[in-house]
């Protein structure tokens, strides 16, 4: 018995040694070809863009002989850690995408990990710079006297952009006797449409309001519309209180939606993924969602007939602003890269009209190059039309305290479940705002 065990042990031992030797021999299998042309390495986290990037890399190699090696690292949270670790180890690639807030971006620039592209962007009367949507460029731009003390300049090239608008289901519109080509243009019409839809058993608006940033976005859109940009910025600066009647009017819109049963049930705890599923399965006539939804709906229900429109105005005198540009996807060039010039040339080519149109058609994302719009699908073009009305907290001169933003989102959720009134929320927000402001002053 022990002899048998001994033999078995010996056999397993040698088997494992052989496997080890085989395994490590594979380490050296990948031959490194010597080439006079450099290889540009690009890191990103966008799984859904990978195939299109590989195709574009092939086209670029055919055109210039320069190989571009796109490396995908998903999911995004781990990618963010990888980029930070690589920055510490000084092993960042030639081109990379950066995740995080503007202050992270600024920290990378200060540490010398990001090249300033301003000079190249402004060459030939700024041809490269002018091809982008200005809102997309603002995300990678640091202006004079910015709060991060970064030298003014453009530190990246946007690859595609996003914005958040309203969507409506054309089939359900027809069912309710509404014109499928005419979405509501103002708030009263919107509520009227919902009433008509309800009569034929169609629920009204769905959105992922279980996620606070979605509520913040909707409230911010209407704050800009109801009181105008200057007054919103004045509130952020602390010059206008949240108890101002205009702010109460903004919060009252949510109360009105609840009172008129205009929302799909459970919207207050709904994640955006579930909201997308609800709209795609035609269980809601309206949705408040971002341009990424085209891809999502296409996957969930390819036959969904829908249109895009700006959130209906409450105040017809002021323009309607939507959030856009801020969550754009940009590539940065490593300032320490030995192939910096080649990398910039590649980025210039990648953001050119033809490549942008190809990327857009393949990935169903909005191109950052405004000249590529003529060649993109209709629904994407509809989203792109809204870019003129886009704004984003990351480009505002001043931002709200995180505590106030959180209280605003949670407070609106409480209005949606009828546990708070707009007036109570306004008072609560003002109290938090004053507390946060006094803390800053005392520091």
């Amino acid at each position: 018995m022990s002899k048998f065990f001994h033999l078995k042990f010996k056999f397993c031992y040698y088997l494992v040694i052989c496997a080890l030797a085989f395994g490590f021999s594979l380490t050296g299998c990948s031959s490194k070809k010597l080439s006079s042309k450099p290889t540009i390495n690009v890191w990103h986290w966008m799984t859904d863009r990978e195939a299109a990037f590989q195709e574009l890399a092939k086209r670029y190699e055919d055109k210039t002989g320069i190989k571009v090696n796109f490396e995908l690292y998903a999911p995004s949270d781990i990618y963010a850690q990888k980029v930070r670790a690589a920055a510490q180890g000084r092993t960042l690639p030639d081109i990379y995408g950066l995740l995080g807030e503007k202050r992270d971006f600024a920290a990378f620039i200060k540490s010398g990990h990001v090249a300033d592209l301003s000079e190249v962007m402004n060459e030939e009367n700024g041809v490269w710079k002018e091809c982008f949507f200005s809102k997309a460029l603002e995300v990678v731009e640091f202006k004079e006297n910015n709060t991060y003390a970064i030298l003014p300049g453009i530190y990246g090239a946007p690859i595609d952009i996003m914005n958040i608008q309203m969507l409506y289901n054309k089939k359900l519109f027809k069912k309710a006797g509404l014109d499928p080509e005419r979405p509501p243009s103002n708030w009263e019409e919107f509520i009227d449409n919902i009433n008509k839809l309800k009569k034929v058993g169609v629920p009204g608006l769905v959105s992922g309001w279980g996620e606070i940033w979605m509520i913040d976005c909707f409230a911010s859109n209407y704050a800009f519309n109801i009181m105008g940009e200057d007054k919103v910025i004045a509130t952020l600066k602390g010059d206008v209180p949240y108890t101002d009647p205009d702010w109460i009017k903004v919060f009252s819109l949510f109360k009105e939606l609840v009172d008129k049963h205009a929302l799909v049930s459970g919207v207050v705890i709904m994640k955006n993924k579930v909201a997308e599923q609800t709209f795609a399965n035609e269980r809601a006539a309206f949705a408040f969602n971002g341009s990424w939804c085209i891809n999502v709906y296409d996957g969930m229900n390819p036959h969904l007939e829908y249109g895009v429109f700006l959130p209906p105005k409450v105040n017809r005198k002021n323009p309607m602003y939507i959030w856009g540009g801020g969550s754009s996807f940009s590539f940065l060039v490593n300032d320490r890269s030995s192939k910096k010039l080649e990398a910039i040339k590649f980025l210039k080519w990648l953001t050119d009209k033809d490549q942008q149109a190809y990327l857009s058609s393949q990935t169903k994302n909005l191109p950052s190059n405004k000249f590529a719009l003529a060649e993109i699908p209709k629904i994407l073009a509809q989203f792109a039309d809204g870019m003129d009305s886009a704004t984003h907290p990351s480009i505002w001169p001043v931002n709200e305290f995180p505590g106030v933003i959180e209280a605003l989102g949670k407070g609106i959720q409480l209005i949606l479940i009828k546990e708070k009134t707009p007036e109570q929320l306004a008072q609560e927000l003002q109290a938090i705002k004053e507390k946060e402001s006094s803390r800053i002053v005392s520091n």
Binding site: S2, F5, H6, F9, V16, A19, L20, F22, G23, F24, L26, T27, S30, N41, W45, M46, T47, D48, E50, E71, L72, Y73, A74, P75, S76, I78, Y79, Q81, K82, R84, A85, A86, Q88, G89, R90, T91, P93, Q277, A280, N281, W292, C293, N295, V296, G299, M300, N301, P302
Partner: protein
């Protein structure tokens, strides 16, 4: 007697109901995963049946090809095999030493090892990466394997030591009388004695390594070196997830580990029972 029989039957029914519900809770996600892998992207949200009427087995072929599973599968096999072998070898030797040998600082070293168990891996990513860069082990299989062996050692040493502690001293003496040196005792007496614990170490670490992805993503720059989980991630987009292919990929990824578990089930149960008896 009658009351006793009724009471026993009632208890049996309760116990069985509990076990059945636990089994269903464990098996349902697996069944859902398998069922969803046979649906289309559109029907995965509308067809609520576990097994669809029109199963799309071609999802497995698409997942295998699109996810590049061939290469990643081989990589994962190599990593799992080498890491588990490394852990078993080092941890069994270390646990034997901690349990049966007397040397200065034995307790302090052991406490240090236990403390290492408390540090979560993500917390050490950046220093680990910088260390790997300095050792020129970034983007190499060796670097990844060494990191994973390091990750699995603490728990394995702790587990094996508790088993070695229970080995009768007489067995060791008998082996010594038969002419065994320390290494001989380890190989011929101690290792067979802790076979159930070794099975637990193997399955536990194999599972960890097979499902590992985060460290691989940090250490590797080349997709050619990535493990199987990278293929699975290909179907998870930032905003859109291809559920049928993701589920097909997960089913493919789960199969080897399920087979390994079934093969070693006997030892694992033995290991758990004997540990319970020891305690």
């Amino acid at each position: 007697m009658q009351i006793y029989r009724v009471k026993k039957t009632f208890t049996n029914i309760l116990v069985h109901l509990l076990l059945i519900s636990v089994s269903i809770a464990c098996l349902f996600p697996l069944l859902w995963m398998f069922g969803s892998s046979l649906k289309t992207q559109a029907t995965v949200f509308s067809d609520m049946s576990i097994i669809p009427q029109q199963p799309h087995f071609e999802n497995y072929v698409t997942a295998w090809i699109d996810g590049g599973f061939g290469r990643y599968f081989l990589n994962s096999l190599i990593y799992t095999f080498t890491v588990v072998f490394g852990i078993v070898l080092v941890s069994s030797l270390a646990a034997f030493a901690f349990s049966r040998l007397e040397f200065p600082g034995r307790k302090a070293f052991f406490i240090m090892l236990l403390a290492a168990m408390m540090i979560p891996l993500p917390g050490s990513f950046v220093p680990l990466y910088v260390l790997m860069v300095k050792l020129h082990l970034v983007n190499t299989r060796l670097g990844y394997v060494l990191c994973l062996i390091n990750v699995g050692l603490s728990f394995s040493i702790f587990l094996l030591k508790t088993f070695f502690d229970k080995m009768p001293k007489e067995l060791e003496d008998a082996a010594r009388i038969d002419g065994c040196n320390r290494l001989g005792i380890y190989r011929h007496v101690a290792l067979p004695f802790v076979k159930p614990a070794l099975a637990v170490v193997v399955i536990f670490n194999a599972l960890n390594v097979w499902n590992e992805y985060v460290l691989a993503l940090i250490i590797f720059n080349s997709k050619n070196l990535m493990p199987l989980q990278r293929g699975v991630m290909m179907f998870r987009g930032e905003f859109l997830t291809n559920y049928p292919l993701l589920m097909a990929g997960l089913t493919i990824a789960a199969l080897p580990i399920i087979i390994l578990y079934l093969l070693m089930q006997k030892y694992i149960v033995k290991g758990v029972i004997s540990q319970a008896i020891f305690q």
